[in-house]
């Protein structure tokens, strides 16, 4: 018989919570979102002795106020899901600050186990704890752990089980807030006990009173009774007049008072290390002159690794899919017109395979990000970029996803998870597609040499990238001034000490991202590929009408006849003012599946047949048909308009709403139309 226990892991950011979670659950993790919010929810199972312990990794927070979504999520999970045990991961080397969250967990009256993590670093700092005494004071078991080395794992599991068995044991003492506050708390407790009985059952009377006095927005919104709110307001005013400060600040001060009292009795510091190694590294990497070049160099390395090294496994995968397509096609007789063959080979393999080949890039990119994050560098990078990003109304950290956007929007949008503020995150997600991604590069690589002199290739490319960046800045400004208005958060951030990342945590990180990507390829992209294949293949023209044509002419005829071809012709009047004809229109529609499809589509359309003509390359044909201005407008339009289906899907997933995905899709298309229209109309009058 196995017993089931749910254990929630709580802790400060950088307390090593994730490494303990990984130690317990290994790769048996499930990553999802908390309902309705974009906070990641990680769960995993650990079997130990006769027990099956389900671990939930709560978001890292400094407290349990209603200040941020993360704090609300962590708090509501504890309150409404009633985990059997809450394991508070404490960074023992920064004990005082870390115990603040502990005081809040104590107030929630949950069965608590403390893990004194990074106890090795604390020892190096010369900190000696009287664990037994501290355990009595906090009324919770304390286990020393070293998360990244897996030390203290079994002891912690034993403590979790023991605490879960003793659940229901009441705490004997509480944190005392001093006479004045306790007096007001008593009044409020009485008022809510009489008037808001259902709430006190859910939250506990004392906790509810504490939160009301702290002006907790969520709790206040829940209290309907006017009299209660009046009593709270009166108490707040009264306390303000006594202390000259808001009650929540005084209460935070009292909690810290409780902590320093507890620490004074139980903690001895033998040596004081003044300059630790983190400070020394920081003098170099955050140096006012060297900081930026070092950051740019690291980012450059990230890119080189992602795209240069990723090229080899990517080539391998491409070869594999080519081989697979050939093998599968081999089941049909040569020259067969079977629709099933075409569906499987051109539709499914072409579509899904085309996306799966990017998997090595995704894995490498996330390995690099995990390295930068786990080592502690990301916090510094955010600071270095903050001055620049602040000017356009975003947090320094927004820079990282935007940079990744030059590779591919999908991992870039996934990387916006590092942003805590919802508005900053949404703004960043909205503009990420304006960064010229790898797929758009294939379009530029086709168009630029077709229309422009060799000397102009470099500057043209640079110009297109630059336009994307400038448009992104303008869009951010507009978004921040309109729908996503709000103060840029003042920059306050903890500087975690540098650490050597562990191999295991990097692998787990990579595996998660890779898996999410694979899952997407298997579902959304598969479905879209099939739909597009149908749209490109049906309806078929009467085969008798083109028996005498070459295979390439046949293909063009088919495309013209298909749904996509017809759509292209239908929207031609709208595209005329931009200088585009139906052929470009058709390719543009196809390219919403993936931008590189533009190139393959346009090459099918221009694969005109007679032998002497086919000597002309695609580029020459393009030059014969369009002006350089049109060529430039094609690039401009492709840069801006509707992001690819994969980006739409990931935006939907990350914002938890179709609305934002649609705003992005149609907003960018409208922007593309306007910008290209202006450029073409002005350009065609000048040239």
């Amino acid at each position: 018989m196995t017993n089931k226990i749910t254990a929630a892991l709580a802790g400060n950011p950088n307390s090593g919570k994730t490494s303990i979670f990984n130690q317990f659950t290994g790769a048996r993790q499930h990553v999802g979102n908390y309902p309705g919010v974009t906070v990641e929810k990680k769960q995993g199972i650990c079997r130990y002795k006769d027990y099956e312990i389900a671990f939930v990794d709560l978001p890292g927070t400094y407290s349990l106020n209603a200040y941020s979504t993360e704090e609300l999520v962590a708090r509501n999970f504890i309150i409404s899901e009633h985990p059997d045990v809450v394991v508070d991961i404490v960074d023992a080397s920064g004990i005082e600050r870390n115990l603040y969250l502990t005081t809040q967990l104590i107030e929630l009256n949950v069965p608590l186990v403390l893990a004194f993590n990074m106890s090795d670093i604390a020892e190096q700092k010369g900190m000696v704890f009287d664990i037994e005494q501290l355990s009595k004071l906090l009324e919770a078991k304390i286990v020393k752990t070293i998360g990244n080395k897996g030390k203290g794992k079994t002891e912690l599991l034993d403590a979790i089980i023991e605490t879960a068995e003793q659940a229901g044991k009441k705490r004997t003492h509480k944190i005392n807030y001093g006479e004045e506050i306790e007096h007001e708390l008593g009044k409020i407790e009485k008022a809510i006990y009489d008037r808001e009985n259902h709430l006190t059952k859910k939250y506990g009377t004392r906790w509810l009173a504490l939160k009301l006095l702290e002006q907790d927005e969520e709790i206040i919104a829940n209290v309907g009774n006017r009299e209660v709110l009046d009593i709270v307001a009166a108490s707040t005013e009264h306390l303000k007049s006594i202390f000259g400060d808001n009650p929540e600040v005084v209460m935070a001060d009292r909690r810290y008072g409780f902590i320093s009292g507890a620490c004074q009795e139980t903690l001895k510091t033998t040596v004081e290390l003044r300059h630790n190694y983190s400070d020394i590294i920081d003098t170099v990497v955050t140096h006012r002159i060297l900081g930026l070049p070092i950051f740019l160099l690291l980012m450059y390395l990230t890119f080189v690794l992602t795209f240069k090294i990723g090229k080899y496994p990517m080539d391998g995968l491409e070869w594999f899919f080519g081989w697979l397509a050939n093998t599968l096609a081999g089941f049909w007789p040569a020259g067969s017109d079977s629709w099933l063959k075409s569906l499987i080979v051109d539709g499914v393999l072409g579509g899904v395979g085309g996306v799966l080949v990017f998997l090595p890039n995704i894995l490498l990119l996330f390995m690099m990000i995990a390295l930068l994050e786990d080592s502690g560098y990301m916090a510094r990078a955010a600071f270095i970029m903050d001055r620049i990003m602040h000017k356009i109304g975003l947090h320094g950290k927004s820079f990282i996803p935007m940079l990744i956007g030059f590779g591919c929007s999908v991992p870039a949008i996934m990387a916006t998870r590092i942003l805590e503020n919802k508005r900053s995150r949404l703004t960043t997600i909205m503009v990420v597609p304006l960064m010229s991604c790898g797929a758009k590069l294939t379009i530029y690589a086709l168009i630029i040499p077709a229309f422009f002199q060799e000397d102009w290739h470099g500057p043209m490319m640079w110009l297109i990238y630059l336009i994307g960046i400038i448009l992104a800045i303008i869009c951010i400004k507009i978004l921040r001034l309109t729908v996503l208005r709000g103060e840029t958060e003042p920059f306050v951030m903890e500087l975690p000490p540098y650490r050597v990342p562990t191999f295991k945590s990097i692998c787990i990180h990579m595996w998660h991202r890779g898996w999410m990507y694979l899952r997407k390829a298997g579902t959304i992209i598969l479905a879209v590929s099939i739909v597009l294949w149908f749209a490109m293949s049906y309806p078929k023209p009467n085969p008798d009408s083109y028996t005498e044509l070459t295979p390439q002419q046949k293909q063009q005829k088919k495309l013209e006849y298909s749904v996509i071809g017809r759509l292209g012709q239908a929207i031609e009047p709208a595209l005329k003012p931009l200088g585009f004809d139906w052929k470009i229109g058709t390719a543009l529609i196809g390219a919403t599946a993936a931008k590189e499809v533009f190139v393959s589509q346009i090459s099918i359309i221009y694969a005109v047949g007679s032998d002497d003509e086919s000597d002309l390359t695609l580029r020459q044909k393009l030059r014969a048909n369009y002006t350089p201005l049109t060529g430039f407008c094609i690039m401009l339009f492709c840069l801006i308009y509707a992001p690819c289906i994969a980006t739409v899907a990931i935006t939907k997933q990350e914002t938890c709403s179709w609305r934002w995905a649609m705003v992005q899709f149609f907003g960018l298309t409208a922007l593309a139309y306007i910008v290209t229209l202006i450029v073409y109309q002005i350009g065609s009058r000048i040239f």
Binding site: Y67, G94, R97, F383, M493, L495
Partner: protein, 82 residues
């Protein structure tokens, strides 16, 4: 020592120790800072205040980075008032 002059944290030089007097910020941010340990009377060591560059302080054994704007809003007083 209530009469002691307060000045913004941003005016403190690297290596100096000060005591926090008050924070003039919105309520939400105030309680956020409080939960991170930035409370009245807490001892703050300015680790780095070279211009331009990160403003780094040490509070309760952990390092924190502040924006310059934030550092202007935190009022402190000198520590040697015993």
């Amino acid at each position: 020592m209530e009469t002691q002059q307060t000045k913004p944290l941003s005016a403190i030089r690297s290596g100096e120790k000060v005591r926090l007097a008050s924070v003039t910020a919105g309520r939400g941010l105030n309680s956020r800072l409080a939960s991170m340990g930035l409370l009245p009377n807490v001892e703050i060591t300015v680790v780095n205040n070279r211009h331009p560059g990160p403003f780094v302080i040490s509070v309760k054994g952990s390092r924190m980075m502040l924006g310059r704007g934030m550092a202007h809003k935190i009022m402190v007083c000198s520590c040697n008032d015993k």
